[in-house]
């Protein structure tokens, strides 16, 4: 295992200065996520326009560098995408973190994929996978209008 792969510069940067760490005004979808093992919390806010395009996305919460960076990169990448595209990106990311070598989707460009692949180092740290996936599961739940708090243990 290599710490440098886990804590790449881009992760440290997004962890320290998370993008979109705020609350979207006039959001029309939101969900909360919680990791009971470590106490990490995230609240994702979405504003979808009439064409179901993500006009704005933001998050509030606290957590480790991995979870903050993951949420930050996620919000950066899905902004401007359509709801169906967002779902495809989320599933692709979760598949990659779980088992697949590469991202498969054709929605993100190469630069965006490279950015997202910076999180792949977490695969070598099974206990930390939940840190990277919490905000993504929470985004899914916001889109699907789930009322329950996302819980990484369920």
């Amino acid at each position: 295992m290599d710490l440098k792969e886990l804590y790449q510069e881009i992760i440290l940067d997004h962890g320290k200065n998370p993008r979109n760490l705020r609350k979207t005004e006039n959001f029309n979808k939101d969900a909360k996520g919680h990791n009971p093992l470590c106490g990490d919390n995230v609240h994702v806010y979405l504003k979808l326009n009439e064409n179901k395009k993500v006009e704005d996305i933001s998050f509030e919460g606290h957590g480790c560098a991995i979870s903050m960076a993951s949420a930050s990169i996620m919000t950066d990448l899905v902004k401007g995408k359509e709801e169906a595209e967002v779902k495809e990106i989320v599933n692709d990311f979760l598949d990659m973190i779980k088992e697949k070598e590469e991202l498969q989707n054709k929605i993100l460009n190469e630069d965006e994929k490279t950015k997202l692949m910076c999180l792949s180092g977490v695969k070598q740290y099974p206990m930390r996978v939940k840190c990277a996936t919490l905000s993504w599961h929470t985004l899914t739940s916001a889109i699907d209008d789930f009322q329950n708090i996302v819980n990484t243990e369920s």
């Binding site: 295992m1 710490l3 886990l6 804590y7 440290l12 320290k16 093992l37 470590c38 106490g39 990490d40 919390n41 606290h62 957590g63 480790c64 560098a65 991995i66 903050m68 740290y125 206990m127 930390r128 840190c131």
Partner: protein
Amino acid sequence: MDIDNIKKEFPIFDNKVQNNDLVYLDSANSSQKPRVVIDRIYDFYSKEFSNVGRSVHYLAVAATNLYENTRTSVQRYINAKDKNEIVFTKGATEAINLVANTFGQKYLEEGDEVLLTELEHHSNYVPWHFLRNSKKIKIEFAEINEAGEITIEAIKNKITSKTKIISVTHLSNVTGAILPIKEIVELAHSKNIPVLVDGCQGAPHLKLDMQELDCDFYAISGHKMYGPTGIGVLYAKKKWLDDLPPYQGGGGMINEVKKTGISYGELPNKYEAGTMATAQVIAFNESIKFMEKVGIENIEKHEKELLNYGLDILGKNNSIKIVGNPKNKGGVISFTIEGVHPHDIATILDEDGVAIRAGHHCCQILHEKLKLPATARASFGIYNTKDDIDQLSQSIENCKKIFNI
């Protein structure tokens, strides 16, 4: 006391962890096991196994004697009056659940209060919380001071005419504060309130004398005392065990069973329903003998030295904030590093073979009070050395380097 020789009795340290020597600083979570304990489980299953307390054949009698020998050892170790005051459970959690359930059933009514502290582990809160729903009781929390301690005044402030039981930790697994149990018990008894002590962190590190503490209940975790998992002890004064109803029903805990009614067995069988963790109980005897051989005074002294050394080394580091500053403190150092989340600290330290815990340590009430989502925690056992603390300090520097601090 030669720690190097003591350390050699723990086979886990013979192996490398990811090519590093193991620096195990997570004993407050669970301790490592000496060879005598591990061997005892193997020997019992290979040469002596039988269920206890039921059959009359040779192996059953021998196993029953071994099982009861542990009860006698625990009685001796904690200076209980009667060996029947020792009830085996699956852990300290079950011991506390047993008391909350049976005491709650018999003595708690709507509006009654149970007094806990803000330092409690979830295992000394959740079992009482169940009674909030079933009995409509109230739970009060004695508040910590700035040092992260619970003073006798903090307890006094929360006792009312409705307080029916006080349940407190002996030693906080986060701040390390050792509570003034004797004073708390004296105060509580002057108002006819019984006291349960969560001894998870007390029993492995402090000299125990039930006659001196005079508490009504004391919960012990076996796996934190260099013993196997799946075994704990509830010490309870005999008057309570005679008085309270049984906890679980099943084989072994009955006297006579008829279609029309059931009478329950004598102590200690009354509280030990079903086949118990026999091998673990028998091996737990070896943990107690191991601790007696090292000597609890030596354990206390050694861990105090480690604590002072650790507080000194980490205290000099400006980036580190130590959580709590109790005057009377056990071998636990919880800390935060400005700009690095505790989980990142734990992952980075792990790369050097340094095992610590990060998170809320099952104490969310306390972390909320401290306004900290999580902390990193180094905790000591008899096998730790000053070298371990030096390695901890060095790995923390590595952590700061990665995060550019």
